[in-house]
């Protein structure tokens, strides 16, 4: 917390000199939940906006917390899924609340949430906002320091000599034979350099300061100023120094995108994602780029230029493999080109992401079943669909709460959802349907959580009842036909 206090102090000094109109906040870097309060909440506000910045927390391990309301509230307190620490946000007018928090050491990487308790004179509401704590980059040096943080317990790593060589030890040399084991404590590559007098030599890379940060910062500045071609040059410079610098590829992709060169942008963001599979920014950007390619693909499809459409859809699916419309339309394009098996394969892929999509069922000539049939007609042809695994593990309390809210939710007739499900299962079994209940699952979907109750019918056919849950407003909405029928009839 001390760091946060210092940070706030610095801010108060810095704010005066900072150009307030300077666009340093990129919305893509912000995790935000916003909208009016809903029925059933204890405070009625025309608008509430809660956010965490940045949404992907890296080495700095500091987050900015904020809540804005359209009318004044008494207090805002933030708490986290990983600890009991609570942060009181401060405000000068009761409507704009802010604070900062240093994430303690020991908090593991992954998805985390901050929960804001917003209290007014009539009660309090909550808003839960997610952020992702990235794996810290550990740069092992001679002193075993974790870059920018405290000392880590570092013991070195085993190395095997692969061919006979000479080692320098205190100014003298000794011979090492192939197969000998030594312990590595520091890796020091060398730079070949040219001196002012034209002579060439070698310097350990650790002894020089590389302009990586400068190039990256210059690239960022050029990008911010709209000089995308210049920014590209800076980012390419960073890649000359560090060819595995994923962030440089990410920004290159953004520059090319701004320049309208989608293909170059596509290649760069693909490289960024290859180098850092967990980088959310690249994935978010890939999503945006996929949208552009989808527009192109869809246009070609409508113009009946199916070869070109297939090519563009392939790019969409490389960037966003969950795009159901792209799977459907690439399948249709294949079908128009006479590639029936490719078309079926594409539609089956689509079905994995949207098992209840009637259009796909029709394309594949498969009949769709609703819940009553599910209970009464076990002999129909089974549709085997893969239930996608959750992309990220939810923080435990978020998962618990979303499951609890769903189970306790009521159908239109006032039956608890859990009881209604039991009743459906019993009925299905009494009609001779073999059922294996797989239980409850929760995963993040958009701004809400998707809670499903999954069971397996005979022949491996998976059925799910799905609801969207907002853990702040406690609203539960049926998300698929099974759940809709359950909510309306039980």
């Amino acid at each position: 917390m001390r760091k946060a206090v210092i940070l706030v102090a610095v801010v108060m000094i810095a704010a005066g000199g900072w150009g307030l109109n300077r666009p340093i906040i990129n919305r893509e870097d912000l995790s935000l939940k916003a909208g009016p309060t809903g029925p059933g909440e204890k405070l009625s506000l025309v608008w509430v906006e809660a956010y965490v910045y940045p949404k992907v927390v890296k080495e700095e391990r500091v987050v900015s917390l904020g809540v804005r309301t359209a009318s004044g509230v008494d207090s805002v307190q933030a708490s986290f899924d990983f600890g009991k620490d609570a942060v009181d946000l401060t405000s000068f007018n009761g409507m704009q609340w802010g604070g900062a928090y240093q994430i303690p050491e020991g908090v593991g990487p992954g998805l985390h949430v901050v929960r804001y308790a917003i209290a007014g004179h009539k009660g309090s509401i909550q808003r839960t906002v997610e952020f992702f704590l990235d794996e810290p980059v550990r740069l092992a040096g001679r002193d075993g320091m974790l870059f920018g943080e405290g000392v880590v317990d570092y013991q070195g790593w085993p190395l095997t000599v692969v061919s006979t060589c000479t080692a320098l030890v205190d100014g003298t040399s000794c011979v090492l034979n192939a197969g000998e084991k030594v312990t590595g404590i520091s890796k020091v590559p060398w730079y070949k350099v040219v001196f002012d007098n034209g002579e060439e030599g070698w310097i350990p890379a650790s002894k020089v300061k590389e302009p990586l940060d400068e190039f990256f910062a210059q690239g960022f500045e050029a990008y911010g100023a709209g000089n995308y071609e210049q920014a590209v040059r800076y980012y390419k410079n960073t890649l000359t120094i560090d060819p595995d610098f994923a962030k440089a590829y990410f920004w290159l992709a953004k520059c090319y995108y701004r320049m309208g060169d989608f293909d170059a942008s596509y290649r760069a963001v693909k490289e960024a994602m290859r180098l850092d599979e967990r980088d959310i920014e690249s994935k978010v950007f890939a999503d945006t780029l996929a949208g552009e390619y989808y527009r192109i693909a869809h246009g070609r499809f409508r113009q009946r230029r199916y070869h070109e459409a297939v090519s563009a859809y392939q790019k969409v699916l490389e960037l966003k493999p969950t795009s159901v419309p792209s799977w459907v339309e690439i399948g249709k394009s294949y079908a128009k080109l006479g590639f029936e098996s490719e078309a079926s394969e594409a539609w089956r892929e689509a079905l994995k992401f949207d098992p209840n999509n009637r259009e796909i069922h029709a394309l594949l000539k498969i009949k769709v079943r609703a819940v009553p049939e599910f209970a009464a007609a076990p002999k129909k042809k089974a549709i085997t669909v893969a239930v996608p695994e959750p992309a990220q593990k939810l923080p435990a309390f978020v998962e618990d709460e979303s499951l609890q809210i769903t189970r306790a939710g009521k159908t239109r007739k006032g039956t608890r959802i859990e009881a209604a499900l039991r009743s459906v299962m019993t009925l299905a079994r009494s009609l001779g349907t073999p059922l294996v209940e797989k239980g409850w699952r929760a995963k993040k979907q958009g701004e809400s959580y998707l809670v499903s109750y999954v069971c397996e019918q005979g022949q491996g056919a998976i059925e799910a009842f799905e609801w969207m849950v907002d853990i702040d407003t406690k609203r539960v909405t049926a998300h698929n036909d099974n759940a809709r029928v359950l909510m309306n009839r039980w």
Binding site: L7, V8, V10, V11, M12, A14, A15, W18, L20, N21, I24, I25, R27, D29, L30, L32, A34, G35, P36, T37, P39, S44, L45, V46, W47, E49, Y51, Y53, P54, K58, E59, E60, V62, V63, S64, G66, R68, A70, S71, G72, T90, S91, F92, M95, Q96, W97, G98, G99, A100, K122, V137, G148, L212, D213, F216, A217, F220, K247
Partner: protein, 215 residues
């Protein structure tokens, strides 16, 4: 690698004195009990303005509850439909927003319509030049208009997408909805609310609250 931009952004953010507008821009909710400052509203025509206390809630009403303690009451009589109006300066970049929202309480006997006028800067000078000889219409900038009905008692929330605003002065300005603050433009410069009575010689009496721009 440290990310200086992130640290700077967090520093920027943490200052409670400066808050970026992410999902909404509150024009006014009159909770300070004052319409002459923060922001300042001016009146014109025969419309009388005063900040009034919102009526106590008799039943659970989420919209009325969100209106808080005060609203701006507007009342007056028309001779030929037109009663008068109020306006305020905005000078905001509204390009990230897509609609205007307002709560209206027709708390008096008079009904009618409320014309909402938005002005975007087209001659890149952060100011709206108006012609006093021509009903104070803009000379260089666009004027966009939409209307809402003033209903009976109780707050009613109306949300109007910007796409529903029509260009009220075609040929003046660039006739494009561009409320962004780019290339020296002042963005969305001003808002005016004009009251029109239901009959040619009628009365309006209503309150407005929670005016905001959002997405």
């Amino acid at each position: 690698m440290k990310r200086p931009a992130v640290i700077l952004a967090i520093m920027f953010f943490t200052s409670t004195a400066v808050f970026p507008q992410f999902s909404f821009y509150l024009v006014d909710n009159f909770e300070d009990g004052d319409y002459s400052s923060g922001p300042k509203w001016w009146g014109f025509g025969e419309l009388k303005t005063k900040v009034v206390s919102n009526p106590p809630l008799e039943t659970k009403d989420l919209i009325a509850e969100s209106c808080g303690d005060y609203a701006l009451n507007l009342c007056g009589e028309s001779k030929q439909w037109y009663v008068g109006g109020v306006g305020t300066d905005l000078s905001v970049d509204a390009s990230e927003f897509s609609r205007f929202q307002i709560d209206v309480n027709g708390d008096g006997e008079g009904k009618g319509r409320l014309k909402i006028e938005l002005f975007d800067d087209d001659n890149m000078n952060y100011s709206l030049e108006q012609d006093p000889q021509k009903n104070y219409d803009p000379i260089h900038d666009d004027k966009w208009v939409a209307e809402v009905s003033i209903q009976g008692k109780g707050f009613i929330r109306t949300s109007i997408p910007f796409s529903a605003f029509r260009d009220a002065n075609p040929g003046v300005g660039d006739d494009i909805w561009n409320p962004d603050q780019k290339d020296g433009s002042g963005g969305l410069l001003k808002m005016q609310l004009v009251a029109i009575s239901e009959t040619e010689q009628g009365k309006v009496d209503f309150s407005i609250d929670n005016l905001l721009l959002t997405y």
